[in-house]
Symmetry: none
DNA sequence: TATGAATGAGGCTTCATTCAT
DNA sequence: AATGAATGAAGCCTCATTCAT
C-alpha cells in the first residue's frame, strides 16, 4: 500500500535516521520501538534492516553525526587568529547555539549514551574525550598566559560549562524569552566572568 | 524456601528500594527488569508488588526521597543568618556535596525523569520548580542589593549552576583527585566569581 | 485502621457474602478479585479465608441461597389447592418476580455456573434438575387433563419459559416502564397463551 | 522449528479464530489463556499478536461474525413476500436453527458480552439493538393488522423469544431427541400460539 | 531493494492462597 | 477471630530480529 511516492522522495536511509532521531529525543531510545520508527518513516521493517544492522546502529549513527559536527566547529574556533579570551568565548557560545539548533540530537546524546553497546560506547567516549581535551587546552592556555584565574582546575571548568550545555535540553524551549544567540552570549559571558583572575 | 537469614534482615521494602536505586543508576530504568530487582534483593515479585504498586512507583519513591532531602537542605542554607553571598555560596556548595553523596539517586533523577508516568512526572516537575525558585530568589536578592551582577538573568544563572550539578553523574568518580568537598568549593567559587559585578 | 465499628455491625460472613454477590454480578466471577471483595467489605483476606474455604466456596454459597429460595417457592405454588392453570400461572409469575428481586444472584447464576469446580457444578446441576422436573410435572399434569396443548413437548416448554427468566438479567432495569409484577404477569400470560390447546 | 505441514494449512488468522471460538465456548473467555489458544492452533504468541491486537480483539471478531450473520438472515426473512404470521414464524425458527448450528458462537455471545472492552461493548450493543428492533417491527406489524394479540407489549415478546434462543446453549445437546429443525419449529410454534389474539 | 509474517524470549502485573503471629 | 506479608504460578503483551519471497 505504501507507495514510493509517499510525499517524501528523500532517500529512505536519511528519512529513517531523521525519524529515529526525533522519536529517540521525544521518547527515549528504549521507549521507541522499531515498529514506530518504520511507521513514522513510511517504510517497512525490512527496509530498515536493509540499511541499518540493528536498532543500536541507528543510535550510533546519530552520535556520529553530532560528534563530527561539534568537533569540527570547536577546531575552527579554537584555531582562529584571536586572543585566547575571544577564542574561548566564541567556542563556548558556538557550542550553545549548535546545541540548541540540534536539541534533539543533544537530548539523545546525553540521555542515551549508556544504552549503546559496550563497544560503541567506548568509541563514543573516546571521541568525546578528545573534544573535552581540546576545550581544556584553550583554558589552560589562558591560565598560563595569566588572563584566566588558576584558582580552579581547568578540567572542572570544562565540566562546569558543559554541564550547562547538557542541561539545555531540560529547560530550553523554542519561542521562550531568549533567542539561542542570547542564551549563548549569556552563558559564554558567565564562563568568562568566572575565569577573571 | 527462602530462609530468614538471607544475608539481610533489613525490612523488605527498604531493601527493594535500595536495590532498585542501585540498579536504576547503573543500567537505567528501562534496562532494569523487575526480575533483576527482586533477584538482587532476594525476594519474589509478589513481595515487590505488595509494597509498590508498579515499577514506576519504585522510581517515584526514589524521586521523592531526593526531592525532600534537597529542598530541606536548601531551605536551611537559604534561611540562615548571613550575608547573601555567604548563603548562596553555602547552598551552592551543599547541593554539590549532597549530590555526590547520593550520586545514584541523582543519576536516576536526571536520566529517568521523562520515564515517569505523566501524572507523576507533573508532580515531580512541580516540586522541582519550587526548588528552582527558592534558589533563584537568593540570586535576585543579591542582584537587588547590588552584590551580584545584573547582566545575566537570574533564571539562566540557576540553570547554569544546576547544569553542573546535573553533570556530576557523568564525570565524578569516587577516588578521583578531588574530594566531594573540594569539588563543591570549586564549583561554588565559579558561581560566585561569575556573579561579581 | 479498619475498626470493628466500621459502620456495619452485620456479621462478617454475611457482609462478605453480600459484597461478593454484588461484585460478582457487576463484574463477573473471574473479574472480581478476592482483594476487591475484602476491601469492599471492609475486612482483610485472613477474615475471608477464616469463613470461606476458597473463592469458589463463596460462589457456591450464592448458588445455594438462590436454589433453596426458588425451590421452596415453587413447591409452595405447585402444591397449592387450585386448578392446574392457576398453579402454573402463579408459579411462572412468581419465579419472575423473585428473579427480578434478586437480579444480582440470577445474573451470577446463569453466567458463572460453568466456573464452579466440577464437583460443585455437579451438585448445582442436580438441584437445578429437580427444580426443572417439578415445573415440568405441572405442565404434564395440564397436558394429561387436556387443559394444555400436547403439540409441544413439556421439556421444551420449561426451557422456553426459563429462557425468558434467564434473559431478564440482560434487559430488565429498575425504574423501567414496567413493575416487576407487570413483567411477571405478562410473561406468565404469554406462557399460558402458548399452552392453550 | 514448526514445520509447514503442521496438520493444517488453513491461513493462520482463520485457524486462530476458529480455535479461539471453540475454546471460549468450552471454557469461557476469562478461563481461556492466550497460551492455550496458540498452542491449540499450533502457532506462537507473536503470530497471534501479528493478526489480532489483543485477546479482546479476538472476542470482538467472533461477535462481528455472528452479528452479521444473524442480521442478514433476519433481513431476508422479514422482507419476504408473505403474510406477517408466516414471516415471523420463519424468522423465529431460522434464528433457532442458525443458533444451534453455531452454538459455540452463541454461547460466547451471551456469556461474554460483558467482558468486552467498554468501547467494543457499546458497538456490539448498538448492533444488537438494531436486530431487536427489526424483530419487534414484525410483531408490531401483526398487532396493527389484528393478527397478533395486543395484550402484551411487543418489546416484551421479543425478549421472551430471544430468552429461549439465548437459553439453547444451556440445554441443547447434539444427538438429543430433537433435530435442530424440530426444536426450531416447536419454539416458533410456541411464539405464534402465544400471539394468537 | 524491499516485504511482512513469524519467532522466541522476555517484560510487567495480578492473583488465590498460605502462614507466622 | 483475624492480620497482612509473602509466595509462585500464570496472565497478557511487546519487541528486535530473521527469512522466504
Amino acid at each position: 500500500m505504501a507507495g514510493t511516492t509517499d510525499g517524501s522522495t528523500k532517500p529512505v536511509a536519511q528519512r529513517l535516521l531523521a525519524t529515529a532521531t526525533r522519536l529517540f529525543a521525544e521518547q527515549g531510545y528504549d521507549r521507541t520501538s522499531v515498529q514506530e520508527i518504520v511507521e513514522a518513516a513510511g517504510v517497512t521493517k525490512g527496509a530498515l534492516y536493509h540499511y541499518f544492522g540493528s536498532k543500536d546502529d541507528l543510535l550510533h549513527e546519530v552520535y556520529g553525526r553530532v560528534l563530527r559536527l561539534q568537533q569540527e566547529r570547536l577546531d575552527r574556533f579554537a584555531g582562529a587568529d584571536a586572543p585566547v579570551e575571544q577564542r574561548l568565548r566564541d567556542a563556548a557560545a558556538d557550542v550553545v547555539v549548535t546545541t540548541i539548533e540540534n536539541l534533539d540530537d543533544t537530548k539523545i546524546f546525553f540521555r542515551s549514551m549508556h544504552q549503546l553497546s559496550p563497544e560503541k560506547d567506548k568509541q563514543v567516549r573516546a571521541e568525546r574525550r578528545r573534544y573535552h581535551e581540546r576545550f581544556r587546552a584553550l583554558i589552560e592556555e589562558g591560565q598560563r598566559t595569566g588572563v584566566f584565574t588558576t584558582e580552579v582546575p581547568a578540567d572542572l571548568i570544562v565540566d562546569y560549562h558543559f554541564g550547562s550545555v547538557h542541561h539545555l535540553g531540560t529547560w530550553y524551549r523554542e519561542g521562550g524569552p531568549l533567542t539561542p544567540r542570547e542564551v549563548a552570549d549569556h552563558l559564554a559571558d558567565l564562563l568568562l566572568r568566572a575565569l577573571r583572575p
